[in-house]
Symmetry: D4
């Protein structure tokens, strides 16, 4: 990361007539990583594959590496085919995501260390998304799965292993009753980021029950992102851990 910018430096440049931060037809925010510490990420969603490839390519050429998430089934293969040959392609199917890099542009090595936990196996995609962005931002990531509160004993080993390893922040992912982040936040002395997932059924089953539970937690030290937002949790965790690990 180059020398830090002041918050309004991009605005200053714009007002001074320098438009380097947002050039071209596809209005990519090339300066986001410099400004916010988090890379610009291409959200796949309903975008045509050609547009995703163009964005990935231009960001990788400018910044070294780039990433696309929320890809449709089969879309990563299409991207692999269409990429310019000078770019290296990394598939992350468990996260529905791909990473693209200029040759030699490795992910940075910073000193942040993050623990990621899920309550159930259906939360895995969100965990993979969080782990991917955190690693791209230079963090070391430990994971543990399926440790929800319905079988509390399953939590003991992985949680003690993570704190023993010195994680500086925990990302705790849960759908259904969403109770795991509250329980964990009551047990540890590092910040916990809760991620509700859209795993559930009936009343509150699209994730709003899990979200409510986390927002209502009695345990301070717990902050929350929106339902299924692995990128938001992973990138904020990396900001926290990298600062702490300096």
């Amino acid at each position: 990361m180059s020398a830090p910018e002041r918050p309004f430096d991009a605005v200053r440049r714009e007002l001074a007539g320098d438009h380097a931060d947002a050039a071209g037809d596809v209005r990519l925010d090339f300066g986001r990583e410099r400004r916010s510490g988090i890379p610009e990420i291409v959200l796949g969603g309903h975008k045509p594959t050609s547009l995703i490839v163009e964005a990935l390519s231009r960001l990788a050429i400018t910044n070294g590496r780039s990433m696309a998430t929320r890809l449709r089934p089969g879309q990563s293969d299409e991207i692999a085919v269409l990429l310019p040959p000078e770019l290296v392609f990394f598939d992350h199917p468990s996260a529905n995501a791909v990473v693209v890099a200029r040759a030699g542009a490795d992910a940075p090595q910073r000193n942040g260390r993050i623990g990621i936990m899920t309550a159930g196996s259906s939360d895995a995609r969100v965990a993979a998304e969080a782990a991917l962005i955190a690693r791209e931002m230079g963090c070391d990531v430990m994971e543990a799965h399926d440790v929800g509160v319905a079988g509390l004993h399953r939590l003991v080993r992985p949680l003690e292993a993570m704190t023993a390893a010195g994680v500086q922040v925990l990302v705790v992912i849960a759908g259904m009753d969403g109770a795991l982040p509250s329980v964990v936040a009551g047990l540890v002395a590092v910040p916990v980021i809760g991620v509700p997932t859209s795993v559930g059924y009936g009343f509150g089953g699209a994730g709003e029950g899990a979200l409510m539970t986390m927002l209502q937690s009695c345990a301070p030290g717990l902050v929350v992102v929106n339902i299924d937002n692995g990128i938001g949790a992973g990138s904020t965790a990396a900001l926290i851990a990298n600062q702490a690990g300096r």
Copy 2:
């Protein structure tokens, strides 16, 4: 309790012209206890005190004992003054409730044993209401307070004491994140009745967050009543425990 009725016996009596179950101007359901095993309870709420006294008196004279809940501040004193002298008055201020009895009409002794837990001290009134109705229905009640998941170690002793004592059902009361019933239901082999309370703030803070969490619980063996419904939880728990304790 006299010999059990068939479900439609009160309807049969009505169709046959016998109106003993619902006589008089104040349409009290004198037969409820015989029919459903749970005493008719007078909900104070906004009723005038004189009406509450009349209902309590008539029910106690017919059935031996009667009970009023959700009383306004100071109302139990007014009731004590207005009761006919042949009735005995028991104040239960922590439950906002009173019990009235004919001389010698003690609460029954059945063999049910119930454990009642609260996550926080603000849940105490709901717990007192549940305990009162369960004792009126003949159960033995154990209580533990302030054992919410933000400090999980507090749960160990009281929960193991209750199961060691052989409780046949647990009533677990929690506001805020409402996570305690899920955790408990994952640890025990008796049915758990979760009671969300209107303790909370912000999004989901009127109890709907706690309710959602309990309904979304990953732990089977957990059933739920409406927010703050101590009477519903306590009376159902008594039905369960008294059957089991026969």
Copy 3:
């Protein structure tokens, strides 16, 4: 069922370094039945069939019997083909579920007796799910269908037959107006578990109308599970009935 555990015994074992309760890659909770009286159930949902088969197999080999629910159309046939030959396969299409057993590992015979009712024929799948888990837990189950409050006379015979037969708990399942559990709870002296279903339309039609009605019931003795949660209702009913039938 072997001698009962204390609630925190699994935690004790973990802290002591004994990880028998949750071994292997697929983190199955082998000790759930011993701990909570309810078998670990494999939720089909979106899991790949191979994963379901592996879980069913390992649970059946360890515990004698195992069960998977919420299967996709055609999935039970795929499971039947993939199962190891030493395991016996039972298809329960009306419940979208299968049971798998080691040869000779019959369902237990306990003495609980449960009545299950539905308001309309669209509630049948939920009833089948509840009945299946209750029978797996050793209960005798009586069923009656299509007895909703729009034609009250249809309720008379089945309800009186169930109480005459000595059911210790009723599971009452209703979508739309969800009124049946309230009516039933006002007529009987056993606990009633209401199950709202996602049968309905327009305002409140995803089951939240039925859920609200049941939570607001004037009849004490009624507890509730989440929308369409047949497993939760059936397993809790079995815990209640088996205790009472001891």
Copy 4:
């Protein structure tokens, strides 16, 4: 009632420059009764008493009788004092309403007959409001109270008495679970108007649970008005009954 108007006659008069229907500063709709068969009603709410008195007076002088509802405590006494001496004052405290009449201007006698039922005693004010407007519109009203579904036998006698008396429509008022209108509509061959009330607690307790239940009813023949809307139910019932009783 004078000869019926065509729906747009008031608009015709306006376009022709005749403003008799809505003269003066307080824009009262003097023609409403002629146009819609229902008297213009003064909603008390937060209006100053002097404004209510003026409206009542002008409507009574023009149309013979007038009515104000939703009065604040003590407001009916203030109105009685302020009314011009040539107008007769009728207090209806159970409905929070007053009626004012020119001497000799009696309520009409039409032939409609209406039954009004409540599930609980807390629904009485809404019932009184419905009964009052129906009687002002010339109907004969029968009432029965406290016949909710938690004690189904209480419904038998009053409902059979009402149908035996030939009511042409039933107004069925219920808070909490709101189940009574569904049950009644399944039993009778006259239209039923359900009125949810804001009697309840917790989830759905402001009347929206009762409203949902009524809208989701499986029994056709049931229509609904908004929560606590006794005037809407009573006046529509009177329109129905008076047509049928012609």
Copy 5:
């Protein structure tokens, strides 16, 4: 229609051991028409065609005519093929419904007259459903379409034609802003049944906006059914009109 029953006569028969009202495996309510004045209707929805055919046949054989609604595309053709030859088949594609009759069993002729209006052309299916049940119940039905409040002049002719023809009740159907029933109820002296439809978009667009508007109407004389409930509106309108037209 035979001589009217008392409300609890079907219950009386059940208690007396006479089960004619609900015989057989498919628990059809053969007595509904006799009891409630409205025929039992087979809701297609997700039922298999064979079940629908069986229900239609048995109801038509017992009661003369029967009806199924909410059919899937192509399902009416399947029903036509499978019906026993002695039954006559009437397709109502605009209502997604079919009628089946014994030869010679015509719909009754009573004297009710109903007006049905829609705000937009997307509301047509709901109107067709309402008209069909009303005609099956013996009413004369007038219809007008596309008269929503965005072009108020379109309402003039059809509304004045309907009132001139003496309709005894109006069914007014509207999605989107749902304003038409309020406007109409302010113009006429007959009861109005508002039907919100699931036509809309964005906030409130599943019909709940239209429902709220109708429930909040300032015009008394307006009652409401649930979103898209043409059967409920049409059948209640027929009860009202047939009484008035006697």
Copy 6:
């Protein structure tokens, strides 16, 4: 109004070190009127009176005139007493607002003309607030009250008078069913700003029913502000009308 600023001129000044736009402890936005054409308005709400007086004074001294809204009962009198003697005080009790001015600083005279309508007399405060800000911004305002859709003829004269007078925008204010703005927008060729009010009861009665209806309107040409937001509607209407009247 002085020469128009560019949107980012205030940011430019800040970046250049000139802090004139937001000086002092109470961070008033002195430049808002210059930047956005709308005066900075002091929201009373729960602020202490002394703070309101200080803000009013400083804004009036800098900009000529200032305004405070949402005052508590009696607060305008307190303000009148505490104002510096060189400022002129105008009370607007119907709007719960006050205006303060330097001697000689009259409201501007621009050429915008606005029509403001209410559906019911309870909407008057919101209308007064809208009219006040529009007049402060130099517009000519016409008002009509109590013209809701339950008596459509009342709308004819005032609406035709307003369009004849050449209003360039209409502010239409309605609670309850909120139908009036839709009806009006279908009749006129000028933009309509709908203002839902918190007048209502039961389901949707805090203004959300009226808001939904307005957002769902079938009539294009209708835009909306939040519930009870008279200031937002009046100030936007003034921006529109003043541009049109230039």
Copy 7:
């Protein structure tokens, strides 16, 4: 645009027996443009293509031009084939819309100038819809895309370009956090119409979060339309701009 009508002229014509405004089976509102300044628009949605073609043709023949929106994929090609040869066809695929015109019937040239902005590239279809209707109503439209608040500097140039060019109104379109309209309304002196879009995820992700934010904006001068309502925003903006540009 011909000489302006009075609001009730279409009603007058109806009452006088002249039905020119709404003739034929398909009840098109031929007079809408004359009455409201906004052309009648055919909403594609689920209508059959033949009906859309008929409506487009009749409106274009009568009024010169016509437009259909919300077309299904491939539907514009079907329309092009089915149109009568004397009509000219214009495809607008980015808006899912088509325009049809009589030869020589060009869109009008008025003097309104509108700026349209989107926060993200997923908002493009809504922007295209707004731009199309505004151009059909004679406005000059400037557009800028992808200027959301997560990269504030991107807003500087396009916003200053638009105000320098003298736009009289801004349409600001945003999903997700919906914050852009608030920021813009705080920076400019022209009215801003906010359009929330259904772009988002999790809690509030169907556009209701963006809608709430816009309705809660602290910046006066902002009005709102329903989620995704490009037509409503564009047509109201054109009414505003054309008045201002006269």
Copy 8:
């Protein structure tokens, strides 16, 4: 802070029979600070003052300092009077909070640095609460108020000052549209904790609009706590900053 515990050490002690962490009648969590890095805080709310004093005293005696929040008006004076003389009392009226300390037990000095911003002056109490807990946990806190997005230039100076000073985390507090945290998170490279407040009106006005906006933010690096939860935001910020500042 003493040597860090393992997460389950308190559970270990309990299982081993050592109950030091939760002794006494008032079940205070004396070990929370050691376990989670955040002091146990006494929530005033509706607790009686004597209970608050007892809890404050025991915590201060054990841990050196203690704190109570959400006090009722006048309650801090009552507490000051009732405290044992050996404890020092610090009143924080702007935060509705008090701190109590043993003589000489100063707040720790760690190296975390936090920036706290509010959008409007009504958010001040929440900011004061966040600042107080952060200072009690040893952080250096910078504050800026009234910098909401309606006047974007006000944000420039304070934000650049905070980042220049090296804050490691920002707490950004906003009601109404809640847009400020999104804007800030797009400008800085440190984690941002958004706090929605219950400042607003109409639709979304109890804080849920602000909460939705923050959860939907396009800017990664933003995490959220529940409405008005200053303690949660401040304590998590302190955990983050103190780690980073080590």
